[in-house]
Amino acid sequence: MSAVNNIRVLKRKEEAEDATDIALLVSTSSKEEINLWDKSKIVRSLIIETGASPELAQEIADRVEERIVQARMNTVTTSIIRELVDLELLERGLGTMHKKHSHLGLPMYDVEQIITSANKENSNTTHNPESINLTLAEAILKEFALRKVFSEDIARAHMVGDIHLHDLGFIIRPYSYLGDTVVHWRVKGSCVAFTTTMEQLYHLLPGETRPEPTVRVKYPIGLEILDRGGEWTEIRRVVKKDRLGKQMLFIATSDGKYCVVTHDHPVITGGEIKPASLVEVGDEVETMEMEKGRPRGLEELNIVHILEANANTFKLRFNAEDILAARQRLHEMVYQAARSRREGKNRFASAGTPGMSSSAGRARVIMVEPVEVLDVYIYDVTTESGTLMANGIYSHNCGGHSLDYIKKYGLSLPNITSTSRPAKHPEVLIGHMVKMASTLQSHYAGAIGWEAVNMFFAPYLVGLDYKRIKQLAQMLIYEFNQLAGARGSQVVFTDFNLYWNIPRHFRDTPAIGPGGVYTGKTYKDYEKEAQTFLKALFEVYLEGDATGKTFVFPKPLLHINEDFFRTEGHEEFLDLACRVAARQGITYFVFDRGDEITVSQCCRLKLRLKGKDLQEAMTPEKMRFTALQNITINLPRIAYKANGSDEVLFNELQKAMQLVAKAHLQKRDFIAGLLELGVNGPLSLLCDAKDGEPYLRLDRLTYLAGLLGLNEMVQYHTGMQLHESQEALKFGLKVVAHMNLACKELSEKYGINLVLEESPAESSGYRLAKLDMKYYPTQASKVLKGNLETGEYYYTNSVHLNVEADIDYIERVRKQSLFHPLIEAGAICHIWLGEHEPDPESIKNFVIKTYRHTQSSQIAFSPEFTVCNDCRRTNRGLHESCPACGSVNVYGITRIVGYFSKITTWNKGKLGELKDRVRTDLKGGLKHAAPKSLRETGLPEVSGG
């Protein structure tokens, strides 16, 4: 054994037990230490990491030692030992153990590449120390995700390119009350209050919607619930969910109150909010006595037992249309109950003092115990204030983030040490918004969208002159745009939804003004201010930055609907929006054909803003749209596998959709696991219970299935591209229809909301094309677009027509738009302008035609620009040198997918696409090929950009 005793082991200091230690050690210069050989360390690590039996671990350790001795190594590193152990595991067929034991890391060469050359996966990322950190971390996390989060079949499908798993995403943590929790509510302003259980309240309400198979929601109108300090707060919605075996906790207080909540329900103790599972005996809670003191014109009716006894009699059914009748029915019920109580016949009516006032008190938690309950459903009430009294205990419930959320609650985030009160001044509000966006961006992979920005700002703008309003518009745009500097790497991808007319669903929404206070008016009353602000925003967009260059973010999404055309001043404003589109290209025209779609009660295929969203518009602070993950299906690959057979093609498509759903479920489980770590876990922001609900809500989560390369799929399968024949187009529609129906079927099966999305596919379009050239070269080379020789090849984005197709733009938009109703999570038509600056009038005509005569969800016009680093001028078109000063120190800008970016940051596939794009000046279908310089000599080089 002397040979063994002489072996020195070089060990990286990785014995640290937490991430902080590991991170700190990485940056020290002396990372290695020398130890003497100790076989028992292998045994220990195998037992801890893989769960191997001590005997097996010992056997493997013996074998590894033997190999090292045989190899006559005097010095070994721990990574070599790990690999020798891995080899042993593999030789014994212990794949699962090997997977657990494996080492995640990067080869030296890869790290060097990441440091020295820019990562072009996303063109909105710049190359700097922070982005290097990001790329390195992502490389490890991607590997981790593929090995640990997803099952082998899904990881394999991603690796070989059947599907593409997009970046990490979102989170949710459901929580709720048990149905027998008692609440007090009344018709708004009424002098009669009811006491019922949550379950009874739910069943009294009309109009159930079912956003997910396990979630039912009702939206009462004009009802209030008792809140803290005897105040009343409006009920926004009542939710009934399948409990799905969730652990419930029984919490009792020293003054005899109790409630049963889910283990993750946020509870307010001693001024802080924590999950029920963290509530301890002795914690202080605020409670309320319901039946103390004299009434002040308020009569309480406890109808819990009446309802129990007469479940059917009292089942009220009403909807928005007959709310009056419903109220009358409620009152009838009230009087009936009141009479019977006066007559002393009803032993169930509230005993004791007939009135109700409330007195707030403090009590201590005396018991927190897990309980087994038989209830199948759990309930949740969302209120205007975000809180309510449940069983006499002050509780939080739902909230959300949006501009109204910040306006109402101020800024209080787990990653920011100070807390701000609601903003009183518009500048402060902008500050809050920017910080919120930046915090959210660090938790989400995708865009952060803000609803009706100009409208929500309006109450802050009353009485301000136009100059000041323009200044605020400027500040808002610049702050968002330049946030990337602060984050050091990637721009905060922001969408501003903007409206000229106050959208119908916000007209009667109570407006929140400075200081987070309701102004007593509705947003409809602020239409003028909202319009002035919108105008100011577009003027800033028109001017561009200090050098006249277009802003890239925040993206202005202008909503066009029937009401838009009915609202005074729309023509003038549309002119401005089209001038911005013509000159800077930044306007996105979003079409809400609400009237047409909502007419279709029987079976609508699509709603841009779904029923539940519209109903939630009364509490805009809760409105937001989030997705867990996007997984893109490589459609051309399916055509290659099918080799001309329809049957195989649709079978493979179904299989791919199934795989997508499975991957989503695995991701959800992983994220749920992280959330279980609660407020001390990595996702504390997302389970932050400041206002009672996580930022992401399970019942609103969307699971995306992306499409890529429909054109090439159809081309390979039918021999024609989408634009080449009606049959090809119809076959394309059949594929997408099939996917749409598969989404519905899988959603039903797994209780998720799976919908199709046009994947932006900025990098996946290139990645999947490359993988197809590797595994299916004969087939792929027949249909791939771009240049195979230079490696600048790609698949056509989503369901788009070939960018090179010789087809009039109106016709292109019309054909592409046929797919839009089937792609519920979003679709866009791009109009590539190139160096042309069309007359704003032509843009306007195009926009109106698209709105009136197609099903298009969204269009954007994309010009190209060359920016000179020397004279700082921005010129139209892509040039090798600055047309103004002749300098070659220039860079090009245009839309890569849904946003503008520097062309030098584009990946090869997108560069190939750029060369192929057919540009238009919108004049009678004239088409202009890519600039000569682009086609023949490549793209302008950036120097110093």
């Binding site: 279709s600 009660q601 029987c602 529609l733 059949k734 229809a737 046929l818």
Partner: protein, 81 residues
Amino acid sequence: MQHLKVFVKRDCQKCPAAKELASRFPHTEVYDIEQADGLAEAAFYSVLCTPSIVVVDENGAEVHAWRCTVPSPRELAEWVN
């Protein structure tokens, strides 16, 4: 020669009436929009709801359409001939 394309689905109250009406005319095709073929055809003619009836010419181009409603027999007859 003109064709009628009728778009229907299950649990759609007015669909049987639309189907019955269209069946009085020759060259009528019925599409169930809960099937991939039917949904694709519906998307092609921008049909977003049922019942819908589209009159097309021999090339499949739309001549007239009633979306989300059922026309009267007379109205339909006017377009089919």
